[in-house]
Symmetry: C2
Subunit: 276 residues, 2 copies
């Protein structure tokens, strides 16, 4: 593993590291914030999955999560959103290919060779993190924004017992019924929609839900509401009687200003679950 | 004036605007955060001047100042760091020309035509702001990072009575004695060093000081310490008996992670001065 940078931040260290990934067949870069407590003992870990067109860097520099993670003594990991590199398949559209991995294992040509972000985020990167850094594998939580909210919700529900809590900012909530989902799932997973179901938060909520607390924030002035479909997930949460808080935030859009405005609540929500 | 974007943030609005500038002879862009209180009445204003290579955007998206400004009911303005555009003189180096205005009025060819950032930040942009937005002209404070810390200190001392308080993150503290300063002042202001003195924070501190509280944060692991020369300013502050807090922060470097780590303290410091 290679250290790209390490900066003192909020009494801890904001690092950026890269490593050769078997899952994606390319070098992968991630950001990791460790609070001061990590100098003495392993700390809990909150995953932050980012959205379309983002790298590991966007949330790391724009969301302002480190302040609250430092106060709570929690680590933060910021994975990249897809495989990358000149030999990696891509598409001119911002919402397919590099920067748009959708947290699935692609089975279709030309994506299958590298686009295995499900395995990367749920298997390989955890191995790297827990074998290298002072992090408590038994104390994990997960959040994300937009495509990353989709990833957080589907991964949390896909691995019962792994995460103490899950939250999301403006998640792609029902991708099987959205142009943010149908296009990508068709390309990565093929035409058989039964393969899509494990990657649709609304369908997972209908089928099994999440065994812990859940927090969803959605901007009421989000320019992508028609693609995100929060109403489908809200209905599924209510029908399942899922322990959850769903907040429609008046005036907020899809930007990082929205994420930054509520990140304190999300980190504290996870801190309560991780330390309770 | 043209609205580039407006995003809800922390209960207020983060806007980006551009306007034709007489001072710089080109279009200038700035960021302005207005807290919720500005919907009802004029609010105090904290200026944030940015460093080398920055635009209006860097601090606006990386520093995390809005959270604390919202809590204190204070507006934030993020000016650009130089004139810009195809017709504006430039230099291949990152520390001269576009992105490196140094908050002076250039008198030398080819810079004199557009590089009038002192007039822009102290005269024209205030006129634009106070005539357009609900801001209290009598309640101003100023801060900045690196070259912007230099700007904040020299402007605060250059306009006695205008600012209630001044602070800086890793300011270029003694540019007349540094390669971050001698190069630029020679180019913009010419060889006569007497013209440089009003733009050197340490020399201004020796000569007159600031009529209000001052806060300086400097990372002890800053990679540019030799260029910043904090020791010169610290000595001048002590010799003048200037009301000031100078903090050498162990382990911190020159990055925005350093700024973000201490922005809460700076905004609250200014809020106390503005509301006291």
């Amino acid at each position: 593993m290679k250290t790209i940078s390490e900066n003192r931040a909020f009494g801890g260290v904001q690092g950026v590291y890269s490593h050769a990934s078997d899952a994606t067949g390319c070098d992968m870069t991630f950001g990791l914030f460790l609070p001061a407590e990590a100098e003495d003992e392993p700390v809990p870990l909150l995953w932050y999955l980012s959205g379309l067109s983002c790298t590991h860097e966007n949330a790391m520099i724009k969301a302002g999560a480190q302040k609250w993670a430092a106060e709570a003594g929690i680590g933060l990991v910021f994975p990249d959103t897809s495989p990358r590199g000149v030999g990696v398949a891509d598409d001119p559209a911002y919402d397919l290919g590099q920067g748009a991995g959708f947290y699935v294992n692609a089975t279709e040509t030309p994506w299958a060779q590298n686009y295995r972000m499900w395995d990367y985020v749920t298997d390989e990167l955890p191995d790297v993190l827990f074998s290298t850094f002072p992090l408590e594998e038994d104390l994990q939580a997960i959040t994300g924004h937009s495509m990353g909210g989709h990833g957080a919700l589907t991964i949390a529900m896909g691995f019962p017992g792994r995460f103490r809590s899950v939250s999301a900012f403006a998640p792609i909530a029902n991708p099987s019924a959205s142009d943010w989902g149908r296009k990508q799932f068709s390309a990565y997973l093929g035409a058989d929609e039964s393969k899509w179901a494990p990657h649709d938060a609304t369908m997972l909520m209908r089928k099994r839900g999440f065994d812990g607390p859940m927090l969803i924030d959605q901007g009421a002035s989000d320019q992508f509401l028609d693609l995100l479909k929060p109403e489908a997930l809200a209905e599924a949460i209510a029908l399942r009687r899922q322990a959850a808080t769903f907040r429609m935030q008046k005036g907020y859009d899809h930007s990082y200003f929205f994420v930054a405005s509520f990140i304190e609540d999300h980190v504290n929500f996870h801190a309560d679950a991780l330390q309770g």
